[in-house]
Amino acid sequence: MTSLGESRKSGAAELGVGRVVAWLKAHSHQILVFVILIAGWQALTLWRGVYWFSSPWGVLTRFINGILGGELLSHASYTASEAVIGFVIGAIPATILPFLLRRWPMATAILDPVMVGGYGAPKLALAPLFILWFGIGIESKVALVAITVFFIVYFSALSGVRALEPKLVQMAQVAGANERDVARYIVFPGAVPYIFTGFRIAMPYSIGGAVIAELLSANRGLGYLIQFSATNFDTTGIFTALFMTTLIVALGNWSVNIVERRLLRWRPPPDVRMQTGT
């Protein structure tokens, strides 16, 4: 039993090492870029001094201490929850609305200028207003994130609904599909890739929006941490918070990709699509 268990364990370890090597090979260019960036940063630090640019090593130590001490994590999770709640509140109506409006092209047309205006308006300028309305707590940040996400996802979902293939609808109707079946089996699945494109674009905005709202006024969160560090001339603190923000964005991106890959198994893989030019 033990020998079997051991051999399995060592096999797994080998597999793990093999995987890591394969990963490193596959991402060698990305790793190279990363190394160049870090080296450039280090050069700036040496040239201009730690005071202005902090240093990669300093940020890394601060980051690890912040994680271990729990303080950085608590700021990060505060910001992340603002982003997630705001994302959900903004994305759900933005996804549903184009489907409801599909039956009333008039309403879509009437709403269009409002939506285009809302999409184009710099939402960050609304942050002070939201702070006035909702206070400096989580609500004002959630509101800012929600409104930013809403317009991005709305236009993606709308283009998904508009990309509907009429021939598929006709086929379905001939086969006996009613209006609801068409919406459920044709319009919605066809729009899912567009909706996910919207999610992917909106995701960094949701975290950025939360951080910027915190910059203006807050007593928690990564934006607050940046503001606080700046008033103390603590560039290492600023860079650490920025680094954490980037990590959250990467994590969000990764989650969207996972869900998308699950839901869109029916699509040809992207490299094939590139080859065939579709």
Binding site: K167, L168, G176, Y185, P189, P268
Partner: protein
């Protein structure tokens, strides 16, 4: 094959508006009439662009006519007003379109079961029938594949059995075997005839291929170039069951082929 025709096309007109509002409307079909008795396998042959697909679209009620009428079971179907179109006339007219129109987000089997699902008839019997059809057309083993993972011919076959699975009394087919190799094509023609023999549905089958029109049909109509008119109406006297692969050697074949070919331009 007596009494009232099941399907009737009377004085049908169709035109498409000219480009960019100019009034050079193009008549694709002008004053077209024919009728199809219950249980007939009618083949229609005509040159590319003669309006065959347009005709089937109107019969299936997914496109409006500019005049004339389509009658089904002696009742006039409302096809002059886009609002009153009733695609498929309550699942009584099946339509195997020229393009496969499979749903890319459904597997082959899910695509085949789609009509049963939306008609609320997805039971064990329906599944068994789908299974039988999948095997008949050589799609067994591809149930879980998505359309992009199938070959063009396999997609064609899937779209064919998607209509056969719910067994509508009339089936329109628009060049269902157009893109297949000769072997598969002959195989599927045989399968189709076998399935048709079991239920004797009414079939309107559009094709470019004179041999196919003769091999399958009880009767062949020949359409002219647009605006489409019927320029030939040939009963196919070759008795059934037919030997599809050897149809050319039948004594009546050569003469029929010759007469139809002279009319197809």
């Amino acid at each position: 094959m007596s009494g009232q025709p099941l399907l009737e096309v009377r004085g049908l007109d169709k035109r498409f508006a000219g480009r960019s509002g100019r009034d050079t409307a193009l008549w694709v079909i002008k004053d077209l009439s024919f009728s199809v008795p219950d249980g007939e396998f009618l083949t229609i042959i005509g040159p590319s662009g003669s309006g065959k697909t347009t005709l089937l679209n109107m019969i299936a009620q997914i496109d409006v006519a500019n005049g004339g009428e389509v009658r089904f079971q002696s009742k006039s179907a409302p096809i002059n007003d886009p609002k009153s179109l009733n695609p498929g006339l309550n699942c009584q007219i099946g339509y195997v379109t020229q393009e496969d129109n499979l749903l890319p987000w459904r597997t082959t089997l899910q695509n085949v079961l789609f009509p049963l699902e939306v008609q609320g008839r997805l039971d064990a019997e329906g599944r068994a029938r789908a299974d039988m059809l999948m095997r008949t057309v050589g799609l067994a083993g591809f149930e879980g594949h998505y359309p992009h993972e199938l070959s063009g011919g396999m997609r064609k076959r899937a779209s064919l059995i998607r209509t056969l699975v719910y067994d509508p009394p009339v089936i329109l087919m628009d060049e269902p075997f157009g893109a297949l190799d000769a072997q598969t094509r002959a195989q599927l023609q045989e399968d189709l005839l076998r399935l048709w023999n079991l239920g004797r549905k009414t079939i309107v089958f559009v094709t470019h291929d004179i041999t196919e029109a003769i091999a399958l049909g009880d009767r062949t109509l020949v359409l002219s170039r647009a605006p489409a008119k019927i320029v030939g109406d040939h009963p196919i006297t070759i008795p059934r069951p037919r030997d599809i692969r050897g149809i050319m050697t039948h004594p009546d074949f050569a003469a029929l082929y010759q007469r139809i070919r002279e009319q197809v331009q």
